[in-house]
């Protein structure tokens, strides 16, 4: 089996999270190896969250807002 990265995403409630919802409504299919954490604003993303996610085994972190 091919290696699949684990991805953690921090998405702003107002835009990117809404975009992820829209992907759902539009039934756009994408790989299931992403875990989304909803935040009130991309400004909420403490760099330590990103480092912690990576330390905890995430292979990639997506921050979007």
């Amino acid at each position: 089996m091919e290696w699949e990265p684990k991805i953690v995403a921090f998405l702003c409630n107002w835009c990117s999270y809404a975009g992820a919802d829209l992907a759902g409504v539009s039934r756009i299919q994408y790989p299931p190896n992403i875990r989304v954490i909803r935040i009130p604003c991309s400004g909420r993303i403490n760099p330590l969250f990103i480092m912690s996610a990576i330390k905890n085994g995430a292979d990639g972190v997506l921050t979007s807002g």
Binding site: L22, R35, V36, I39, P40, N56
Partner: protein
């Protein structure tokens, strides 16, 4: 004894585009009940169709959707979709409106928007929302993010409605039992105190101009079709290809003024928005194309007159490589080689003809008045102008010929989104003026049982996993997720639900809270963006603090997007539930905070904008302090003699000043400046230069602007060279009767490197004066030397008239400006004519310089109120598109020239808009804060101030004595920028703490 007021504290807003939504929100937040009546089955209007918006390139849907949601769930906005107004009786304060509501055939309260019905529906129909570029079904949702998030049946297309036995597949598919083909149209009567007409516009249909080939050649598209092509949620998924053959275009052309500035079609007006949207489409198309896309815009005059527009144009031209060709397009033909490519035949400015081939041609179609409204307006007694727009009577901004009925947005004349939003707020303000005594009489409020104290309790979490019919359950193994949830720490109850959002499930959740003594609730279903408030209501009804709730989005972000991978989707759903459960254990009840507030208004600046703001606020019953730094009211308007439509401006000013002086609620301070400002929304204390202190709840900045003092064209050296305002006063005083040759020079100090903006009004003003000159002396030779004539909207008509009356227009370019020299008792003006390609000399008696509009000195106020200025020194609003009179700092608003160049009509409208926005604050008894704000741990805070510098709401500051950060909860929006910037971990955000987020990360 209280008596019921005669007036009805409700407003009908007709049309639910951005204008209708803005007006409804402003009114509902100001204490009025709103009926929002919309013809379509969903609110949103045109904005959801647009991909990006100029000049910020924000995604249109991204900036609109929070407003859709807010409007959709507002307790005091009743949305009536598929509805049309058919009759309006009564008078201002008390109207009776008759509304016809078409049957939807789907109960929006039951429909979950899952779309199973549409998947089964066998009838495919052209999708109007996608401009016919895609298909939809006979049962459909207008667009993916639509509110109400519910389907509707297209009566004319449904097989079952035509023949009851023919179909019924949707009925089988719908697990929510929401569809009913037997629904009937309804007639509804409502009582309202005023009406706001915001029906928007219809797009020009370019088939009627056969020479552009639209409808004949598949690769000639309209600009709206192009928006749908660019849109990621459009029929082509945002891939820039020709819809006809899915080929990537290499060369795209835009043709401007299609259906605008066309007297033959009775469209002798400028549609105002097409120049900017064409530039935007070209820029965005270039961004979309992974290759070097060639883009060309064919135009007559480039009308980038709005705030920050000229810079956008410059950037497109100079940095982004969009080509601009000043030309007349004769026709578009298809090449004979079968490529589907197109040839544009056009004449250049020098009269030569060019043929150029393109892969795709976009027609920048104009705006027409909403066709439905033309008949309806007659019935309503609302007069339309000769183009069938409801152009407001002079200097009202938003009025109509029928008292109590207001207009905003494109129905009042072609305009862009920010102006539409401004006008919508202004219409809300004028509606509120006539209904002030009925404010708060019809608004609803919800009551809840007392909240249980869960402090110190052991975590007892209940988890509810939703099947959403088959939407989740057919992909995610829901029972296994339920079993898994039961193993998670703190979970004492877990269950599955067919529809978590149904009313009976709500009852079951409440019972479970009671029975299992739950103190945390997790629902795994759809998106918290749409459903969290609903579930939080359930918690409140069960006596739990709504913040003890958490959602896992296992539909929109799981089952729907991993349909082919059920096992992995189930694993993901488990992870999402685990993350939610881990976070929920750390949730704490949040208490809202209520702060007392002052309900007075401070208006800074006593010009037309400031005076209108003061009068409007006072008419709504609020006390106003109007502070003017000069010795008298009036501002720059004191120097204006004629309005754009010939109004007597001095009489208007005298009338305003008299109304102000006679108003008991307005206190005027002249010759006084602002010396200090302390406090925040609801609690401002402002010290004036005369030592007086004013306490106020909101501030409206209307500091106006001035006429630029030219240093060019012999101004100040030769008496015959004047600015437009100087010329206007000479003209009005009859001093120019003998002048034979008069030359106007446009863009003096505007559209220059040091002032890279268009002053917006000078073209129209010059033409107005030219016509006056021609009127007084038909033999006078009047020349207007211009770069682009920017007579947007109905002012185009004036431009046409001027040409007809013999005013001579000569274009010059920025690199070859006119030369003005003294020559005896005359002034010699030399300019290179682009048509003749040769210099022309005019011996002028008078030269009028269209000098730029420059802002007042605003830097002090900018610091006092912590509100930003743009590069040119005008105040910069919170959002250029949707918050045109607001600031990031709450309780501070602006209007007039302080915001940017605009004419008096627009300033009046904006002044009213600022009041409407201010009234959404003032209508509240107190400043209520939800509680999801930042909090400081003083022990950890080093007082370094980084939070203060990053806070966009200016809600955090370092206390000078305690040397620690202090959060002003009234201002904090809970964005958390402070918390993530704080190295010391002293700042946190209630409801989204570092601990909670780390719990979610650690759950993975």
């Amino acid at each position: 004894m209280t008596t019921k007021p005669d007036k009805v504290g409700a407003v009908m807003v007709l049309g639910a585009g951005i204008a209708g939504i803005q007006a409804s929100l402003d009114l509902a937040e100001s204490g009025y009940y709103v009926y929002l009546v919309e013809k379509q089955p969903a609110i949103g209007g045109t904005m959801p169709m647009l991909d990006k918006t100029f000049p910020t390139n924000d995604c249109s849907m991204c900036i609109l959707s929070p407003k859709l949601v807010e409007c959709g769930r507002h307790l005091n906005i009743e949305i009536m979709t598929s509805s049309q107004l058919v009759d309006l009786q009564g008078e201002p304060g008390k109207f009776k409106a008759t509304i016809e509501q078409k049957a939807r055939f789907v109960d929006p309260d039951k429909c979950t928007g899952c779309g199973s019905c549409a998947e089964e529906c066998p009838v495919k129909v052209d999708d109007e929302f996608n401009q016919g570029l895609g298909k939809r079904k006979a049962i459909y949702k207008l667009y993916a993010q639509a509110y109400p998030n519910a389907y509707a049946i297209d009566k004319g297309k449904c097989l079952k409605i035509k023949k009851p036995k023919a179909c019924g597949k949707c009925l089988e598919a719908c697990q929510a039992d929401a569809i009913d083909h037997s629904m009937e149209d309804k007639t509804i009567e409502i009582e309202v105190g005023s009406v706001i007409l915001v029906p928007g516009f219809d797009a020009f249909q370019p088939e009627q101009l056969s020479y552009y080939g639209y409808g004949k050649f598949p690769n000639v598209l309209t600009s709206l079709e192009f928006e749908r092509i660019l849109s990621a949620s459009g029929p082509l998924g945002g891939h820039l290809v020709r819809p006809s053959d899915h080929k990537e275009p290499k060369k795209v052309a835009w043709i401007q003024c299609v259906g605008s500035r066309n007297c033959k079609l009775d469209h002798g007006y400028c549609s105002s928005v097409c120049c900017m949207y064409a530039i935007k489409e070209a820029v965005i198309a270039k961004e979309h194309a992974p290759y070097a896309l060639d883009t060309t815009i064919f135009f007559m005059d480039m009308r980038t007159y709005g705030k920050e527009f000229e810079k956008y144009y410059d950037k497109a031209r100079l940095e982004q490589g969009v080509k601009f060709v000043r030309s007349r397009v004769y026709e578009v033909t298809e090449t004979a080689d079968g490529s589907g490519n197109l040839v544009i035949r056009y004449s250049n400015e020098d009269g030569t003809i060019t043929n150029e081939e393109f892969d795709l041609v976009v027609l920048s179609i104009g705006l027409e008045p909403s066709r439905d409204m033309i008949d309806l307006a007659g019935k309503l007694g609302v007069e339309l102008n000769k183009f069938n727009f409801a152009e407001p009577p002079s200097l009202t901004g938003v009025g109509t010929s029928r008292p109590g009925v207001y207009v905003a947005g494109a129905f009042s004349g072609p305009r862009d989104i920010p102006e539409t939003v401004m006008q919508a707020s202004a219409a809300a303000a004028d509606s509120s003026v006539i209904l002030a005594e009925a404010r708060g009489t019809l608004v609803k409020k919800r009551e809840y049982p007392a909240e249980k104290d869960v402090a110190g309790e052991i975590i007892r979490t209940g988890v509810f996993i939703c099947h959403c019919g088959i939407n989740i359950g057919s992909v995610v193994n829901v029972p296994s997720v339920v079993d898994y949830a039961r193993t998670l720490p703190g979970v004492v109850f877990a269950d599955e639900k067919m529809y978590a959002c149904s009313q009976d499930t709500g009852v079951q959740i409440k019972e479970a809270i009671e029975k299992y003594n739950l103190n945390r609730v997790v629902v795994a279903s759809c998106s918290p963006r749409t459903h969290e408030p609903m579930f939080q209501e359930t918690l409140k009804e069960a006596g739990l603090n709504p913040n003890l709730f958490e959602m896992a989005n296992i539909r929109d972000q799981c089952s729907w997007v991993h349909q082919k991978e059920p096992e992995k989707a189930t694993e993901k759903a488990k992870d999402l539930v685990k993350m939610a459960v881990y976070k929920s254990a750390l949730l704490e009840p949040l208490k809202g905070v209520s702060l007392g507030m002052n309900h007075d208004v401070l208006v800074i600046g006593g010009g037309v904008a400031g005076m209108n703001a003061a009068l409007n606020a006072a008419a709504q019953g609020y006390k106003v302090s109007l502070v003017e730094k000069s010795g008298a009211l009036g501002g720059i308007a004191n120097r204006i003699r004629y309005g754009m439509k010939g109004e007597d401006v001095q009489a208007y000013l005298a009338d305003l000043a008299a109304k102000i002086n006679n108003n008991q609620l307005i206190k005027v301070y002249t010759g006084v400046e602002i010396a200090e400002v302390h406090g925040f929304v609801g609690n401002f204390v402002t010290k004036l230069s005369n030592g007086e202190e004013i306490q106020h709840g909101v501030s409206i900045i209307a500091t106006g602007g001035d006429e630029y003092k030219p240093t060019e064209y012999l101004y100040g050296q030769n008496q015959k060279v004047k600015t437009l305002l100087e010329l206007e006063s000479d003209l009005a005083d009859g001093k120019l009767a003998a002048a034979k040759n008069i030359v106007f020079i446009q863009c003096v100090g505007s559209r220059e490197p040091e002032r890279p903006y268009c002053s917006r009004i000078c073209c129209t003003k010059s033409i107005k004066q030219a016509l006056k000159l021609k009127e007084t002396n038909p033999d006078a030779n009047v020349f207007i030397l211009y770069r682009d004539i920017r007579t947007y909207g109905f002012y185009e008509d004036m431009y046409t008239e001027a040409r007809r009356k013999g005013v001579i227009f000569i274009r010059y370019s920025a690199d070859s400006k006119p030369v003005v020299e003294a020559s005896g008792d005359k002034v010699k003006v030399t300019v290179t004519d682009h048509v003749l390609g040769a210099p022309v000399s005019i011996d002028a008696d008078v030269v009028g310089l269209a000098a730029a509009i420059v802002p007042s000195e605003n830097s002090k106020l900018s610091q006092f109120f912590k509100v930003p200025l743009n590069q040119e020194g005008f105040f910069l609003e919170a959002h250029l598109k949707l918050r045109p009179v607001d600031f990031g700092t709450d309780g501070v608003f602006m209007c007039g020239l302080a915001h940017g160049p605009k004419n008096m009509e627009e300033n009046i409208s904006q002044a009213k808009a600022a009041v409407a926005r201010a009234c959404t604050v003032l209508a509240k008894e107190a400043i209520d804060v939800e509680g999801k704000c930042a909090i400081v741990n003083k022990k950890k805070c080093a007082g370094c101030g980084v939070c203060e510098s990053v806070c966009p709401a200016k809600a955090v500051s370092v206390d000078p004595t305690e040397k620690v950060a202090v959060v002003n909860e009234a201002l904090c929006k809970g964005c958390g920028a402070c918390a993530s910037s704080c190295r010391c971990g002293a700042l946190n955000v209630k409801g989204c703490t570092n601990e909670q987020i780390m719990a979610m990360i650690n759950a993975l």
